[in-house]
Symmetry: D3
Subunit: 139 residues, 6 copies
Amino acid sequence: MAVLTRLTALVDRISPPEPVYAHCDLPCGVYDPAQARVEAESVRAIQEKYQASDDDVFKQRAVQIKEERADLVKHHLWVLWTDYFKPPHLEQYPQLHQLFWDATKAAGATKSSTDPASGQKLLDLVAEIDTIFWATKKA
Amino acid sequence: MAVLTRLTALVDRISPPEPVYAHCDLPCGVYDPAQARVEAESVRAIQEKYQASDDDVFKQRAVQIKEERADLVKHHLWVLWTDYFKPPHLEQYPQLHQLFWDATKAAGATKSSTDPASGQKLLDLVAEIDTIFWATKKA
Amino acid sequence: MAVLTRLTALVDRISPPEPVYAHCDLPCGVYDPAQARVEAESVRAIQEKYQASDDDVFKQRAVQIKEERADLVKHHLWVLWTDYFKPPHLEQYPQLHQLFWDATKAAGATKSSTDPASGQKLLDLVAEIDTIFWATKKA
Amino acid sequence: MAVLTRLTALVDRISPPEPVYAHCDLPCGVYDPAQARVEAESVRAIQEKYQASDDDVFKQRAVQIKEERADLVKHHLWVLWTDYFKPPHLEQYPQLHQLFWDATKAAGATKSSTDPASGQKLLDLVAEIDTIFWATKKA
Amino acid sequence: MAVLTRLTALVDRISPPEPVYAHCDLPCGVYDPAQARVEAESVRAIQEKYQASDDDVFKQRAVQIKEERADLVKHHLWVLWTDYFKPPHLEQYPQLHQLFWDATKAAGATKSSTDPASGQKLLDLVAEIDTIFWATKKA
Amino acid sequence: MAVLTRLTALVDRISPPEPVYAHCDLPCGVYDPAQARVEAESVRAIQEKYQASDDDVFKQRAVQIKEERADLVKHHLWVLWTDYFKPPHLEQYPQLHQLFWDATKAAGATKSSTDPASGQKLLDLVAEIDTIFWATKKA
C-alpha cells in the first residue's frame, strides 16, 4: 500500500485523481467497497485459520466470529446496492441486481462453510462489484 | 481504483506484493486503517454538507449521523491500537500511544463540531497512523 | 391491513392456513414480512406525530427515532430478499429485484422526509412484497 | 396462531377490526406482539433443527443464533410490558406483571435448552400476552 | 470511593465481605445495579447540561445521547428483574414487579423530558432497587 | 452495599462526599471504572463456570458470552482512556498509556482463554486503573 501510495502520487501528476467519495442525497455520501472487502478477507482468513487449527475453543470462536464478519459483508453490500447505485447505473450495468443478490447470498453461504473456497468466491464477487463501482465513479 | 489495480499488477511483476492482511493471535487477523479512514471521510463530508445546507431537518440528521460515524472512527482506531500493534512496533514507533490518544480524541472532538477543519484534522491523524501501519507491514 | 386481515379470514374458511414460517437452509428459517411492516407503520406514525406537534424536543426525537425505524425496515427487507427468496421465486416473480430495490430506496427516502405520504408509499411497497411472499408460501 | 387467526376472522365479521397500532405518548406508538412471536418461532425452529442435525458446525451455529433470537424475544416483551401497558390495563389484567416475568424467564430458559418443548412453552406464553394485548386494543 | 475502599477494608476485618456477584443458572451470574445507576446518573447530568447550555448543536446532541442512556437504564433494569430476581425474592419483596415497572417507565419518561427532576426521580427508584438487591445478597 | 451506604452516610457527616461523576466537554460526563469491572468480573465468573461444567452446550455458550463481555471491558476501558483522562492526568501518571494498552490487551487475551487466571489478571489491571481514576477525582 505504501507502494500504491507512491504510485498514486505518480498518477496524480498525470491525471486529476478521482474523489474518494460520492456525494448522494443522504447526509453522508461516502461509499467504498473496501468496507465489504476487508470483512470478506476476514471471513476467508478465519476459514483458513479454522482449517489449520486443532484447538476446539479456537475453532468455536472462529465459527462464531465468522458469522459476524459475514453479516458485515452483507450489510456493506446491501448499503452499496440500495444507497450508492442509482437508476442510470442500472441501465449501464443491467447485471447489478443479480450480482448483488449472488454476492450477498455468497456471504450468507460462508456462514455455514469452513472452506476457504467459499470465502474466496465471496471475495471474487466483491471484486466484480468493486470494478463496476469505480468505473461508475470515473464516468 | 481500476487504475490502481492495473498499476498493482505492474508492480507485482517487479516485486512480490505485500499481503493485504496480518495474522495475529486472534481468529481474524485482518486489519486495514481504511476502515477508520472511510468513516473519517464520512465525518468531514457530513460537516461540509451541514455548512452548505439550510434545511433544519437535514442539519439535525447531519449532527446525529456524524455522531455515529465519529464513534466508528474511534472504534476502528482503538482496535488497531490494542489488537494490531505489538510491543516491537512500539519500540520502533514510541509515539504510537500518544498518536492514537490524539487521534481518538480528535474523533471525539468532531462530534461537537460542525467545522470541516476538525474532520480534516482527524483525517490527517488517521493518515499518520496509516503510514506507520503500512511501514510495519513491510518490515 | 385491516382489509388484508379480513381477506385472510376469508381464505382460511376455504383452505387450511399455511404455516407461518418457512424452513430454509439456515439454522433459523422463520421469515415474516410483518417485521418490516411493523417498522414501516412506525415510520408513518412518527411522521404523522411530527406534523401534529409543535414541541421542538419531541420533533427532534421524532426525526431521530424515525431514522432507526427506517433502518430496521431496510434491514428486514434485505434479509427477505437475500435469505428467503430463491432462484425459482425469481423466475416466477421477475420483478422481485426491482421491487426490493424500490422498497429499500423508499425506506431510505423516509429518513429525510417528515411527510406521512413517504411512509405510506413505503407501506404500499412492503404490502406488495407481503403479497408475493405469502403467495410463494402457498405454492 | 392459525387458530387465533381464524378466531380473529370470526370476530372481524361481527365488529370492525381495531387498527394494528396504538398511539402512545412516545414518538412511535406502534406495538405488535407479532415481533416477539416471530422471534419465538425462530427459537423453536432452531431447536427442532438442532435436534435433527448431526453436523457439529451447524449445531454450534444453532446454539449461537438461538441465543440472539431469545434475547430479541425478551427485548420485545420488555418493551410491551413497560411501554405499551398502562395502569388501567393492569387493573383489568392483574396477572400482567407475573405473566411478563414468566414469559421473559421462559425466553431466557430457551437459551440453555435445545429442547423444542422449551420453545413451545415460550410461544404459549407469548400467545397469552397476545390475547390480552388485542383485547386491550378493542376495549 | 478511595474512602469507601478503606472503610470496606475496616468492615472486612469485622465480618466476611459479601461476594460481589451472584451465581445464577446462566453462564454469567454477575449482577450489579451500579450499571443502571451509572447510566441514570448520565441521564440526569445530561439534563442539567442541557438546561445550562444555549448552544443549539450541543442541546440537540444532549437530547440524542440522553435517549441512548435512558435506553441502557431500561435494559439494565429489565435484566435485573428477569434474570437476577427469583420467586423467593418476590415472596419477600412483593412490591418488586411494580417497582421495576415504575422504574423502567420512569426511565422512558426521561427521554421526552429535559428536566433534571425526572432524572432524579429515576435515580431514586434505582436506589430503591439497589437497596433490595443488596439485602437479598446478604440473606 | 447496604453496609457501605450506612458507612457513606457516616463519612458524609465528617467530610463532603466526592461527586459521583466528572464533567467533561461531552454532553454526558459520567465515568465510572465500575462499568469495566463488572464486565471483567463476568469474564472471570464465566471462566470459572466453564471449568466446573461438563455440559457441552453450556461450555459453548460460556465461550460465546465471554467473547461479548470481554469486548465490553475493552470498550469501557477505551472510553475511559480517550474520554475521561486529560493531558494533566498523563503528566501526573505517565504510565497511563501503557497501563490501558496492557489492560485492553489483557481483556482481548481472555477471549481465547478459559483459565480464570487470565480473568483475574484483567481484574487486577482494571483495579490499577480504578485507583488512579479515583485519585484524579480527588485532586
